[in-house]
């Protein structure tokens, strides 16, 4: 299963990078979603996977009777999913507002912070 998931992770990362290299904010946003899933799957697979029971202790026992899935990556990913979602929502609104103000989602045209023509700094003393 790890082999198949490694291939899937490679696909997710590749697609995320390709989308992030776009000049369009909306495509980059999709890339961010892929990147989040790619990282989650990476962490998940690193903790080893198999079709086993969830990490839950039955009533009356103090440890699970049989082999269970690795709980640690799950805890990490649970946090990561929520954080990536709020990040996605924030980026989406930011892109939306930028589009409202600037009228484009082309990053080449978003030059407020680093304008095209910056001119030489003063040469005097």
């Amino acid at each position: 299963m790890e082999v198949a998931l490694s291939a899937l992770v490679a696909l997710f990362f590749g697609a995320a990078v390709y989308l992030l290299l776009s000049k369009h904010i909306i495509r980059m946003l999709l890339g961010m979603v892929f990147l989040g899933n790619a990282v989650n799957l990476l962490i998940f697979t690193t903790g080893r996977v198999a079709s086993v029971a969830p990490p839950v202790i039955p009533e009356g026992a103090t440890v699970p009777p049989d082999a269970v899935a690795n709980p640690l990556p799950q805890a990490l990913i649970l946090t990561a999913i929520v954080i990536s979602f709020s990040f996605f929502a924030f980026l989406l609104v930011l892109a939306y507002r930028a589009y409202q103000d600037i009228g484009t989602d082309d990053t080449d045209k978003m030059r407020l912070a680093e304008p095209e023509e910056r001119g030489l700094p003063p040469l005097g003393y």
């Binding site: 697609a15 290299l21 000049k23 799950q74 929520v82 996605f88 409202q100 990053t107 912070a113």
Partner: protein
């Protein structure tokens, strides 16, 4: 030797620093009269140095200091011998005179306290420089003189010319300081010698070293920049933007002689080679002639004096490199004479400026009645500078000519250069000392007046010292000149020059110099016109070159910054991901970390289905041109991942992922309908190919890394800990939940904080529109229903 052996000598280093710290307080309390108590510091230092003169003139250097960085063998150590004795006397003695002069010159200036502080700081640095024994101690003090000089030149920092002069001086002398650092480190590395005392006692070690040439080159760059040799001389005239006390002190009497000091100090170890005796006279001679000619092209008294200082420094360098003992004696005498007369003449120029309101020779005249004391001080300086008896400058010139004169070609050239330079300087000296005081007083000068005692006590004292030192020449030589020359030669030297006429070649040359000088003085106007025409005719000079170099530096920095920070996001992203891909792949390939090739995994059919579902969602997003398809495909890959989680024993993850993906798709669909942009990015093929290559490389990098990791043995210690202790410690059955809310509770709280802040930020972005600039396009919320 420990510090307690020569305790008082440490006070020489300490007194100026203490005075520098007290200066602002004293000045705000006493006003310009603070000069009197402040001058006590250099005066006391002078007395302490002088009190140690007995041992020095007997040829016994005093060593004192302590370990500074023992692990590197660096000491904070000093050496008082004939050379440093003479320099220390000049620095502290003239320092006292300059502090008094500054009290009168900057009277009422709001920054007078700051000025006193700077100039006393410089004094501390300069005393340390001439006394330093350990090479690193020397370097530190050398740099401190550059920095304090920068502060003093830029004292009047509201004028651009002052700022330019300060920066130019710092760049040129600071560059020399870097060369000095490299040179001193190279000396230590090549020979193991770490102090001047060791170097002087090492005999032929440096001359025989394989690194002699680079060491010499670096030391010469340091000395030539500090002592304003052609072509580095430009900073010295521009340093005249500083207040006159600074010009008198740093830029004639002391700091500019640091380079001369360094060469004199190292003469026994580096000198007496063909390279030494070729390079020094060459640069020195060129500087002498250039400086003296440019001096006569000026009309500003300070600039005339500045260029003659350049010329004088050239003469000294030339004499050090001339190779004979008498020439070195000449250099020693000239250095002493120059410090006295040039310091005094600069103060005279300042006093004339103060009393008559201008320093321009063409606008000055007839001040002898209004400013008699200044006139007398000017004459004392000029007579010594002109090399006339019975002044100290006369002794220096006689010794110079005895040292240079000879019959071979080299001697003839050097003598000719010296005579020409001296004649030019002779006329410059009297232009400064006579022109403002003789003749008729121009209408433009109103109410010229003699300065207060603070203004004339300095130049008068220095002028009289120059006279008395010459009249009592044998005493002067016994105490100062001979020990100094001995230190420079590295062997006992006795100077005998006294005020007496010996019929011979030197006297003939002196007469020739004076004759030429008088002729040049009388023809000053036409000579100036010719020289000014020549200067404008040449046009380009090192000064303009400096501006071009600085401008070029800014342009270079600008274009490099422009290239690195293009302002294009895709450029930044490309850089980031190329490096990510390289960082993942290259080490794996280079260190053999690639995973072994696995076989096709044996999976259940539903597992294959879910994997393909996720992959199909991803690929569809990449290739679709339809907005709705893209959104739906995004959801498909998300649900695929959620199902994977479910199959692999992670129902909590699966549940959260389903919720988040659903919400994402809904929000995205809502927003996308309001954005009238194509979901396809229309990347041209020329861009698709490199982008896809980077993407494939980065994806492969992560995939291979993950595969390699999963092929290694798994350490389950941490997971086992949570599984075993989940119920025992935290009494929870769902281990993942226990980890989140208990073991990592603080982390979860931080996560909630992040989500909350994000929510607030989103709210702010949507709601707050106050102060927003007019939209470049109509607001879609208003135009679409």
């Amino acid at each position: 030797m420990t510090a307690t052996d020569t305790g008082p000598l440490f006070l020489v280093l300490l007194f100026p620093l203490l005075a520098a710290a007290l200066a602002p307080l004293l000045t705000s309390a006493l006003g310009h009269r603070a000069a009197w108590p402040l001058a006590l510091a250099p005066a006391a230092a002078f007395a302490i140095v002088a009190a140690n003169g007995g041992g020095v003139s007997a040829g016994q250097p005093l060593l004192f200091g302590f370990d500074w960085i023992p692990s590197l063998g660096i000491r904070f150590s000093f050496r008082l011998d004939g050379l440093s004795f003479a320099f220390a006397l000049l620095v502290t003695g003239i320092g006292a005179a300059v502090v008094l002069y500054a009290g009168g010159y900057l009277k009422g200036h709001p920054g007078q306290g700051r000025f006193f502080s700077f100039i006393l700081m410089f004094m501390a640095a300069m005393v340390g420089l001439v006394l330093a024994d350990d090479l690193m101690t020397l370097l530190v003090y050398w740099e401190l003189t550059s920095i304090t000089s920068f502060l003093l030149i830029g004292f009047d920092h509201e004028r651009e010319r002052a700022r330019r002069g300060a920066i130019q001086a710092l760049v040129i002398t600071g560059g020399g300081g870097l060369a000095l650092m490299a040179g001193l480190i190279l000396i230590r590395w090549a020979t193991g010698l770490s102090s001047m005392s060791e170097i002087l006692g090492s005999g032929e070690a440096l001359r025989q070293s394989a690194y002699y040439v680079p060491v010499l080159a670096l030391i010469l760059v340091a000395a030539f920049t500090k002592s304003a040799q052609v072509p580095f001389h430009v900073w010295l005239p521009n340093a005249m933007e500083a207040p006159t006390p600074v010009s008198a002190y740093l830029h004639s009497a002391t700091m500019v002689k640091a380079g001369v000091y360094l060469l004199m100090r190292l003469n026994p170890a580096l000198g007496d080679t063909a390279a030494w005796e070729t390079i020094l006279p060459l640069f020195g001679g060129a500087t002498l002639i250039t400086g003296a000619l440019l001096a006569l092209a000026q009309t500003d008294m300070k600039l005339i004096l500045a260029y003659t200082t350049v010329a004088s420094l050239g003469l000294m360098i030339m004499l050090i490199g001339a190779g004979s003992e008498t020439a070195v004696e000449g250099a020693v005498l000239y250095l002493l004479a120059h410090a006295l007369f040039k310091g005094g003449l600069f103060m005279v120029a300042g006093s004339v400026d103060h009393g008559a309101g201008t320093r321009d020779l063409t606008a000055l005249g007839g001040l002898r009645r209004a400013m008699p004391i200044t006139f007398a001080a000017a004459l004392l300086g000029a007579l010594s500078m002109g090399g006339l008896p019975p002044f100290f400058g006369f002794l220096a010139k006689e010794e110079t000519y005895s040292g240079l004169a000879g019959l071979d070609t080299r001697a003839l050239i050097l003598t000719g250069v010296a005579v020409a330079g001296n004649a030019l300087m002779f006329s410059a000296a009297f232009l400064v000392a006579l022109k403002p005081f003789l003749g008729k007083q121009p209408e433009t000068i109103h109410h010229p007046h003699e300065g207060p005692v603070l203004l004339w006590i300095g130049p008068m004292t220095l002028g009289l010292v120059g006279l008395v030192a010459a009249l009592g020449a044998s005493f002067t030589h016994h105490v100062v000149s001979s020990p100094m020359a001995s230190a420079v030669m590295g062997e006992a030297v006795d100077i005998h020059a006294v005020i007496a006429f010996h019929w011979g070649v030197p006297l003939m040359l002196s007469l020739l110099t004076v004759g030429l000088g008088i002729a040049l003085y009388l023809a000053a106007g036409p000579v100036r016109a010719v020289l000014q025409k020549a200067v404008t005719g040449v046009g380009w000079g090192p000064d303009r070159g400096f501006d071009q170099a600085m401008g070029g530096l800014v342009r270079l920095a600008f274009s490099v910054t422009r290239w690195l920070q293009s302002g294009r996001l895709d450029f930044y992203m490309t850089t980031v991901f190329v490096i990510v891909a390289a960082a993942l792949l290259l080490p794996m390939i280079a260190f053999g970390g690639l995973p072994t090739v696995p076989g096709v995994p044996a999976l259940e059919f539903y597992e294959w289905t879910v994997l393909f579902m996720a992959a199909a969602g991803v690929i569809l997003v990449l290739i679709t041109r339809n907005r709705l398809t893209a959104i739906v495909s995004l959801g498909v890959q998300g649900f695929g991942v959620a199902l994977l989680f479910m199959f692999m024993g992670a129902p909590d993850l699966s549940f959260t992922q389903f919720m988040v993906e659903t919400l994402s798709v809904v929000i995205l669909a809502l927003v996308m309908t309001r954005l009238r942009v194509a979901v396809d990015d229309h990347r041209p093929w020329i861009q698709v190919v490199p982008d896809a290559t980077i993407a494939v490389a980065a994806g492969a990098g992560f995939g291979l890394l993950l595969l390699a990791v999963t092929q290694m043995p798994f350490n389950a210690a941490l997971s086992d800990f949570f599984i075993r202790h989940s119920y025992a410690i935290a009494h929870g059955h769902n281990i993942v939940n226990v980890i989140i809310v208990d073991f990592r509770g603080i982390d979860t709280m931080g996560e909630i904080g992040v989500v909350m802040v994000t929510g607030l930020a989103i709210l702010a972005l949507i709601r707050i529109r106050v102060g927003r600039r007019a939209p470049a396009m109509p607001d879609p919320t208003e135009t679409t229903p």
